[in-house]
């Protein structure tokens, strides 16, 4: 970062008394916090939460092989396919949003407005139900598993496509107009200007925001739950049914796996962000937090 964080300006560096006070307050609240945790742990232990069998049963090697790994693969499969779909739709609709033709802009705008107002859950479940009533995919020879994957991916792609379209539009608009003008000035046509001058820079600009959105997409695969797509969360529940004692434990394990996946991907995103923070025109604003992005994630990835 080029400037020092606000926080260090808002307060003077703490003197010895201040440091002592901060230390005491930290220790004090730390003790209270630990006490609460201990209390909860005792309660849980009373109910056998920490019993080894409850944790070991769902992690039996047979179950890992036959349930966890396939579920993980299903989750990743839906995430990857959904991402590809979202990127494709995002580019198409995004270009539509900045098109020279008012009609195209209008259509793209309606698309974005509509699909960003609907909950992803409904975007997945309603097409699935409509298809169920009319049997369209069945005539295409898809089996039940394929159907569920299709509609999960469809919902994810349509919704995140709308979000990515917005990001793309912001990325393009964030470039100083001089860039496009320069392109026209040296005789490039509109299409060429876009392709050779504007888009490469815009893409580099918004890459972090796009990747962050894809991490959100990964988390959203959990919504396959409503059409009983066998993703990680759903299969975790099934395992929990086999071992009624481990219902909560499997949920925690599943949450942990999601955490590792999402967190790991975010780290990669941060690395990518660092590597691509050059080669952009001066004055181009980074796709900034003021862009209303989705699932409540403001544009910047978390700076830990």
């Amino acid at each position: 970062m080029s400037r020092s964080p606000k926080s260090s300006v808002l307060f003077d560096a703490l003197g010895p008394r201040g440091q002592a006070r901060a230390r005491n307050a930290s220790i004090g609240s730390g003790i209270v916090f630990a006490a609460l945790l201990a209390l909860a742990a005792v309660q849980l232990a009373d109910q056998g939460f920490f019993e080894q069998s409850r944790w070991v049963n769902p992690l039996d090697i047979l179950i890992i092989e036959n349930a966890w790994l396939p579920a993980l693969m299903s989750t990743l499969k839906a995430a990857v396919l959904g991402s590809i779909g979202a990127l494709l739709l995002g580019v198409i609709v995004g270009m539509g949003r900045v098109s020279r033709f008012k009609a195209i802009r209008g259509v793209a705008s309606v698309y974005v407005q509509f699909f960003r107002a609907m909950p992803l859950l409904l975007l997945i479940w309603i097409p699935f139900t409509i298809d169920g009533a009319f049997g369209a995919t069945l005539s295409m020879g898809l089996d039940a598993e394929g159907r569920r994957l299709t509609f999960l991916v469809l919902g994810l792609a349509v919704y995140n496509g709308a979000v990515l379209a917005e990001i793309l539009r912001s990325g393009i608009n964030a470039l100083p107009p001089g860039q496009a003008m320069a392109g026209h000035a040296i005789g490039l046509r509109h299409g060429q200007t876009m392709r050779l001058v504007v888009l490469p820079q815009a893409v580099r600009n918004m890459l972090p925001a796009v990747l962050a959105q894809l991490v959100i997409l990964l988390k959203d695969t959990a919504l396959g739950y409503v059409i009983t797509y066998p993703d990680l969360l759903h299969d975790a529940e099934t395992i929990g049914r086999n071992y009624a004692d481990s219902f909560l434990q499997v949920l925690i394990i599943a949450a942990f796996v999601y955490f590792v996946l999402a967190w790991g991907l975010s780290k990669i995103v941060t690395l990518v962000e660092r590597k691509t923070s050059r080669k952009v025109a001066k004055g181009a604003a980074k796709v900034a937090p003021s862009i209303p992005l989705e699932a409540g994630a403001p544009g910047t990835s978390a700076k830990p």
């Binding site: 400037r3 020092s4 964080p5 606000k6 926080s7 300006v9 808002l10 307060f11 003077d12 703490l14 201040g18 901060a22 930290s26 609240s29 909860a40 309660q43 849980l44 109910q47 939460f49 407005q113 509509f114 960003r116 107002a117 609907m118 909950p119 859950l121 409904l122 479940w125 309603i126 409509i130 009533a133 988390k219 959203d220 959990a222 919504l223 739950y225 409503v226 969360l233 219902f247 909560l248 949920l251 925690i252 949450a255 999601y258 955490f259 999402a262 967190w263 975010s266 937090p289 003021s290 209303p292 992005l293 989705e294 699932a295 409540g296 994630a297 403001p298 910047t300 978390a302 830990p304």
Partner: protein, 218 residues
Amino acid sequence: MFDNFDLMVDAMGQGLWVTIWVTTVSFIVALIIGALLAMMHVSPAPPARWVATAYTGLFKNVPLLAILFILYFGFPKIGIVLPSWQWAIIGLGTYTAAFVGETLRSGINSIDLGQAEAARSIGLTFGQSLRHIILPQAFRTVIPPLGSLLTALVKNSSLVLVIGVPELSAQAQRLINDNQDRFDLWAVILGVAACYLIVNLPISYFIRRAERRAEFAR
């Protein structure tokens, strides 16, 4: 299309009502916790920053669905038994709070450094600087992203149907899967889509207006 129209409208109306008040209360909870988080993010004490970072990291990386399940099925085991709508609010509120905290923190950090320096140079303390100088300005930049968080919250509220809260999407599901086929599929779909549009489009509109005003105010 209009078979049992009144029953359908009644059911969806109830669902819409539940969605609206769950969203509203959750948002208020999120704002409160989020404000606390933001202060912890920029606080002088490192442990506060660590907690804020851990909290944010947790909620940003775990799906909301998993969090709702763990709350609903987990916490009663340590003695906290609450009806599902309360867990819905706690889950939605704490989840959204992580993002609110981030947004507010960015907002604080986006205020020009000179403002903070000026505040310090006239002798205001950390708390006073925040309250009188930084936050009021940050507020203006922060409205649009907060608005989009509200939109996201309205949409996320649909998830609480998995812990049994009869909100709008749950009602739509119940109507469509009705055992006796009393309701027309398309009518329900149009209805539920219309409801969400009615709630979310105005919010988007206000976000855009606020964005434009924020630009002028600079």
